[in-house]
């Protein structure tokens, strides 16, 4: 199993475009936005915060949906389409191990990326360290799990790797919209904001854990529920060849 994770990690890093986007882009985005003076000046419009403070959770949303929906489903569906999973099922190693390896590596990358964002925010812009670290950890883990599970459902149901990429991109765009990545959340109507709180990876819980007091347990519970349901659907419907 360690060998699988090691090889998957090498493949992740070797896939330059994706690994740069997943690991470094969120922090670079934060640096870019923070370079604009107006965006690092507190404003009542941002609830008395600076724009970059209010946008932090959306950056984390980007990280999680990018890895969970742009990378994961395509890689998994390609593994099936190219017969990689079939090839493994002739060995004593069950091909599910390869998928576990994928999840471990992608989750690890997501956590690294979030940590990098926290460090850049703290060091460069003096953003508070997360107020509720445990809450943030829960929000990242559960929100990530929900998003990854949706990615796996797509990988399970899509007939081809191309289709998986297409379907996943649609969901990716939608979740970025609800998560306030395109338009900051304060500009979105309250209905959309509410949807964003409950759609993976749960932007509201991330924001509350980082700069508020604590995440709303209902938001976290919904993420857990999405992970369980989508995870079960993916496991039920997954084809190995």
């Amino acid at each position: 199993m360690r060998k699988i994770i090691e090889v998957e990690a090498r493949l992740f890093v070797r896939d330059r475009l994706n690994s740069v986007f997943a690991l470094v882009f969120p922090a670079v985005l934060l640096l870019g936005l923070g370079a604009v003076p107006a965006l690092r000046t507190p404003d009542p419009q941002f609830g008395g915060l600076r724009f970059i403070d209010s946008y932090l959770s959306s950056i984390v949303v980007f990280t999680l949906v990018f890895i969970g929906l742009q990378r994961l489903p395509t890689v998994v569906a390609t593994y099936r389409e190219k017969g990689v999973l079939r090839r493994l099922s002739t060995t004593p190693m069950h091909p599910a191990r390869l998928l576990i390896g994928q999840l471990v590596v992608n989750f690890g990358a997501a956590i690294l990326s979030v940590l990098l964002t926290i460090v850049v925010a703290y060091v460069v812009f003096g953003v508070d360290l997360p107020h509720h670290p445990l809450g943030l950890a829960c929000a990242v883990v559960l929100g990530g799990a929900g998003t990854f599970a949706l990615g796996l459902v797509i990988a399970a149901l899509a007939p081809t790797a191309r289709a998986a990429g297409g379907w996943a991109t649609v969901v990716f765009m939608l979740l970025m919209f609800f998560g306030g990545v395109y338009l900051p959340r304060f500009m979105l109507p309250s209905v959309i904001q509410t949807i964003g709180s409950y759609s993976p990876p749960g932007v509201e819980a991330l924001q509350q854990a980082w700069l508020g007091t604590a995440p709303d347990w209902r938001h976290l519970a919904v993420m857990g529920l999405v992970s369980l349901v989508a995870g079960a659907v993916a496991a039920r419907t997954f084809r190995w060849d």
Partner: protein, 311 residues
């Protein structure tokens, strides 16, 4: 432990290491394999020939434990294939690796799956390509890597599905010598192939598949001798010869004439019988040519000709 191992002595003396009995498999309404039975003796190279869609791949996939038979049974080393995965090495048709995995990484990854891995990479000429990524390998190198991965677990049985398809003639010959080397290491081989030359060169016995059944199972030369008129002698007699005399020979099945040329078909000893007759009659055979039916012809007859129905 040993009493649940089923030892079956094969008629050629070796132990049957693979046993397929009355195997049946259908995909929806389409019958892919219908009542196929055969045994493979330890150390044998067993060829599986047949046109596309004849059920070759489905059969070996059942032997590899990749598919569950609908009917019949498959055992490898006396066990269900799924229980002896580490004893079976498989090279699959149309099965790839991740694009960016390096040859060396693939080898070390796969060797981590087995208790006693074997390294065939240098014998397969892969040593110089360990850093190359799978997606950039030529067809021949991909194939060689695929063989190396099939053999990496030191299998007792190797299943090689169309291993030389897509290789150039030189690479094909190189692969054949690797297969011979693998066999001399004691590995039993199931070889699915399209190439008669390959079957003739490598296989001890060959099963010819047709429409999901085995149309014939024999040694390559045995298959050839099944074909009526396997030998054909053509010549122009120096003096006129009574065709009835030729037809009277027990070795002759058919005589026809093309212009002044006589074409005599018959069994293996045909040439001797015909030349003896000519000698007795003091006739010289000019422009004498002898054609032997090849495995190719036997194959076409067994899989395509109407006569195949009788077998």
């Amino acid at each position: 432990m040993f009493d649940d191992l089923l030892f079956v002595l094969h008629d050629r003396g070796g132990m049957a290491i693979v046993e397929v009995r009355e195997l049946g498999k259908r995909y929806g309404p389409r019958v892919a394999v219908d009542s196929v039975s055969f045994e493979v003796a330890e150390g044998e190279i067993f060829g599986i020939l047949g046109p596309n869609g004849a059920g070759k791949t489905t059969t070996v996939e059942c032997v590899a434990g990749l598919r569950k038979p609908d009917r019949g049974s498959v055992s490898v080393l006396g066990r269900a294939p799924g229980d002896v995965r580490s004893a079976i090495g498989v090279q699959l048709q149309a099965s790839e690796l991740p694009e960016r995995i390096r040859v060396g990484e693939a080898l070390s990854l796969f060797s981590s799956f087995y208790p006693s891995p074997a390294d065939w990479s240098s014998r397969l000429g892969l040593s110089g390509h360990l850093k190359a990524e799978f997606g950039q390998l030529s067809g021949g190198l991909k194939q060689r890597l695929s063989i190396a991965l099939a053999l990496i677990g030191s299998p007792r049985v190797a299943i090689l599905d169309e291993l030389t398809t897509g290789l150039d003639p030189q690479a094909r010959r190189d692969t054949w010598s690797v297969i011979e080397e693998v066999r001399s290491a004691g590995v039993t081989i199931l070889l699915v192939t399209h190439f008669m030359e390959e079957a003739e060169r490598l296989c001890d016995r060959v099963a010819v598949f047709r429409d999901g059944r085995i149309a014939a199972l024999d040694t390559p030369s045995g298959l050839v001798s099944r074909v009526d008129g396997a030998t054909r002698v053509r010549f122009v007699p120096s003096a006129s010869l009574d065709v009835a005399l030729l037809q009277a020979l027990p070795e002759v099945t058919e005589v026809s004439s093309v212009g002044s040329q006589l074409v005599v078909s018959g069994s293996e000893n045909l040439l001797h019988a015909v030349t003896s007759l000519l000698a007795r009659k003091q006739i010289v055979a000019r422009q004498l040519r002898v054609d032997q039916v090849s495995l190719d012809d036997a194959y076409v007859e067994l899989t395509g000709g109407s006569r195949a129905e009788d077998h």
